[in-house]
């Protein structure tokens, strides 16, 4: 999710606005450096996934977190994933499966040099949070096959009926108590301190408050943010190695101030080509973005005056805008609720309900689905979701297909053609109304 350390400047310079960007760049760079130095400094390394990550818990054991998904997307933005994916396919991995996985495995085969050019350490623990995605389970089996290291599995049941039952929560908590925490203690040599966890969760909740405020700022007209492309940057710290840190709290405080300033000035979102001038279309977006051609993709929106006012992708590593916060008073239960509540762990009817709510509350013109070949967890059922959302809101929806990090599946002309048709459709609907 975290796409910050790109070489391309995101926006025109502005001293105040840059503070959060600078802060985030420093955080990310520090994390990669920490990963590179971890074993030299006697620290243990945990690999884990973004959805359902247990960052506060991992920090209780002084371990450094590495996120293979983030490496993959960062490599995608740096145009490295095409070669990595081909390498994995040469090794026998099917062309049909998730390209995040193949990018990661290809990177390992080519020396395990991370996106910033620094070597990545081997894992001491694969902390497999099996939340909302079956592929995660096989991905970490494949990594374990490479590294022969310890694995801790956290099976998070699926919210098929749109609610978290006591049985689901107890199951996750029991796994934490009886399997995950003992393994973290064993690997790290650090005894678990629940009060330390409470402190981190307290920090998390502060950052979450400000993140929600930032995301909900898109209810303003014009929206001061792009809640899809821009939000990828905003969710970076909280979806990764920084949730629960003071750095994250400070980052979101700075970000909120900057967004408030944009609202006060009536400004639209910052894009790679500067501030978006006129807001013509307000979209709710479902599905992950494409990373190999992200700027090209984003440009197709902002050059036509389209802003994404809410997205489901910004909820994939934690769903906070319907009230959930990490709760230091109930630390393990709170971690369980967090894992269970991640977006792709929701049933399709719940996902539809959420999209309809967004369209109504953010006064959107319609729904755009970017369907990702790699991600069945997101993609299977999206066509039905599209029709249901159209039916329930009366707003038009559109469907484009790309991939996360496989450049072979980004066809700029096709995507642009569909988007332009979609914007025309919105215009026609407006005129008809």
């Amino acid at each position: 999710m975290n796409a910050i350390t790109t070489s391309k400047p995101l926006a025109p310079r502005d001293a105040k606005k840059d503070q959060s960007q600078i802060k985030q760049k420093e955080m990310i760079a520090g994390n990669f450096q920490e990963l590179t130095d971890a074993h030299k400094q006697g620290k243990k390394v945990s690999y884990t996934f973004v959805p359902g990550n247990l960052n506060e818990l991992v920090m209780c054991f002084d371990m450094v977190g590495n996120f293979p998904e983030i490496n993959a997307l960062q490599n995608g933005m740096r145009k490295k994933t095409g070669a990595y994916i081909m390498e994995a396919e040469r090794q026998g991995h099917s062309e049909d499966v998730c390209t995040y996985v193949k990018s990661d495995l290809g990177m390992i085969k080519k020396g395990n040099i991370g996106p910033t050019g620094q070597p990545l350490p081997e894992p001491d623990l694969l902390l497999l949070s099996y939340t909302g995605c079956f592929t995660f389970m096989k991905w970490f089996e494949l990594l374990r096959h490479e590294y022969k290291c310890e694995t801790a599995m956290l099976h998070v049941p699926y919210q098929a009926d749109g609610k978290i039952t006591d049985n689901m929560r107890n199951y996750v908590v029991n796994q934490l108590k009886q399997d995950v925490i003992p393994k973290l203690e064993k690997i790290s040599g650090v005894k678990f301190d629940i009060d330390r966890l409470r402190e981190y969760l307290r920090e998390s909740a502060k950052a979450e408050d400000n993140l929600v405020w930032v995301l909900q700022s898109a209810k303003h007209k014009p929206s001061p943010i792009d809640a899809y492309f821009g939000a990828i940057y905003y969710v970076g710290p909280i979806f990764s190695a920084f949730r629960g840190t003071r750095d994250a709290t400070e980052y979101y405080r700075l970000l909120r101030e900057e967004i408030q300033e944009r609202i006060d000035q009536g400004l639209g979102p910052v894009t790679p080509d500067g501030v978006m001038k006129e807001e013509k279309y307000r979209l709710v977006t479902e599905g992950p973005p494409n990373y190999t051609n992200m700027y090209e993709f984003w440009k197709m929106f902002y050059e036509d005056g389209a802003v994404n006012v809410a997205s489901t992708y910004a909820k994939v590593g934690g769903l906070y805008d319907f009230g959930f916060r990490h709760d230091p008073e109930h630390p393990l239960e709170s971690l369980a609720n967090y894992c269970l509540g991640c977006y792709t762990n929701l049933s399709l009817p719940e996902r539809i309900k959420m999209l309809v709510t967004y369209i109504n509350e953010y006064q959107a013109d319609g729904l755009l689905i970017n369907s990702i070949k790699s991600c069945n967890s997101f993609s299977a059922g999206q066509l039905m979701m599209m029709r249901e959302v159209e039916k329930q809101t009366g707003k038009p929806a559109a469907f484009v297909e790309t991939d996360l990090v496989d450049p072979r599946y980004f066809s700029a002309a096709n995507v642009k053609n569909r988007l332009e048709s979609y914007f025309q459709m919105i215009d026609q609907k407006r005129h008809a109304a």
Partner: protein
């Protein structure tokens, strides 16, 4: 017609009947009867049986169903079984179903559970989430509650009470059935020329449609008939098929592999028939017994988590050894995440055991068998001529 031929003929009719006439007749024979559909790979059919209901496996539309509406629900990169399942539903072929269980096989089947909730809002729909943690007081406790919730859901649907004795009785019947299916597999491994893979397949498939009591009797009758007679023995090699646990291959594909010179001596077809590798105890708490047996005596597949790296892929090596096979054919449905993600690890396990293999993909409506026949034939020749 010989008894074995009559039995297979019946199985073939059941297999080809996409209107599920047999299940419809079972339902209409007694007022109030209910039918519960389930998808691959595993559900605890004992609970459905104990509720007096008929579990019916919905394993896609095969190569006989033209998928028209179902394609409008899925992108091109999603496998075929969900789209043909939707087609079955939208064409009213599943209108007799009173409930549907979607096991935790993969993300596609998981999401299909939500789609079904919307397409058939009136029926009992449940995502059957089995534990991937195998500790008794963790995954076991969770699974006991899941089974209890299933029990209560079926009780509500049927307006009945499922007693522990009902459940024990059903457990015993399914224990017997698994034993018979395993015996069929043993017989086939011993004398594969007597039990062609297509016949074994159809017999297993019948188990998805018939009441368990009837299916067990069918297995007994078939095995009695088949052991009494003989069939010509061919100079085929012996292979294990891997990857066909969810979306089903066309029958012609199985036939083509055998015609190409391969006796299929083990496979992962319809694993629900053999999922539990030990009999579930019939004394004591039946739900806890089902849970404990599931945790410690389940078959291993691509759709489950293997906690022990040393054990990864060994189930396939063992299947090869147990059935005295000479090689493995990986045949996975296109876009099947579990099978295709698992495959490189399984291949490594086979490499470690010096077992040859080939791999290809299929869809349930694959029509061109010639490439598969050539590939399988070349594999068989290479084993027989050079021992690969």
């Amino acid at each position: 017609m010989a008894i074995s031929e009559q039995i297979i003929d019946r199985c073939q009719n059941l297999y080809e009947d996409l209107n599920f006439t047999n299940a419809r007749e079972w339902k209409s024979a007694v007022p109030g009867r209910k039918v519960i559909g389930f998808m691959p790979i595993y559900v605890a059919r004992e609970m459905i049986h104990a509720a007096g209901m008929l579990p019916v496996g919905i394993f896609g539309g095969g190569d006989q169903l033209e998928v028209i509406q179902g394609d409008a629900y899925y992108q091109s990169y999603i496998c075929r079984i969900p789209r043909s399942t939707i087609e079955l539903e939208l064409t009213k072929r599943l209108d007799f179903i009173d409930g549907m269980l979607f096991p935790s096989t993969c993300d596609v089947i998981r999401n299909l559970s939500g789609m079904f909730q919307m397409i058939r809002p009136g029926i009992y729909t449940r995502y059957f989430d089995v534990p991937q943690n195998y500790m008794d007081n963790v995954g076991g406790d969770y699974y006991v509650m899941e089974l209890q919730e299933l029990r209560e859901g079926l009780e509500k649907l049927g307006g009945i009470k499922i007693t522990d004795d009902d459940l024990r009785n059903s457990i015993a019947l399914y224990n017997d059935n698994r034993q018979l299916v395993n015996k069929l597999y043993d017989l086939r491994a011993e004398q594969p020329w007597k039990i062609p893979a297509t016949e074994a397949y159809l017999l297993e498939r019948a188990g998805m449609l018939l009441p368990v009591e009837e299916h067990s009797q069918m297995l007994i009758d078939y095995m009695t008939a088949i052991t009494a007679g003989d069939r010509p023995r061919r100079d085929n090699c012996r292979v294990v098929l891997s990857g066909m646990f969810c979306e089903q291959p066309p029958l012609n594909l199985i036939k083509s592999i055998e015609l190409a010179g391969c006796y299929i001596v083990n496979d992962d077809f319809m694993l629900v028939n053999r999922w539990l590798t030990k009999a579930v105890p019939v004394d004591g708490d039946p739900i806890r017994n089902l849970a404990t047996t599931f945790l410690h005596h389940s078959v291993k597949t691509s759709a489950t988590f293997e906690p022990n790296e040393d054990e990864k892929g060994q189930y396939l090596v063992e299947a090869v050894r147990r059935s005295s096979a000479e090689g493995v054919i990986f045949a996975a449905p296109s876009f099947c995440d579990p099978a295709l993600l698992e495959r490189p690890m399984l291949m490594d396990a086979l490499n470690g055991a010096n077992i040859p293999y080939i791999a290809f993909k299929y869809a349930e409506n694959t029509g061109q068998m010639q490439p598969i026949r050539e590939q399988a034939g070349t594999f068989a020749d290479s084993i027989k001529l050079w021992g690969v």
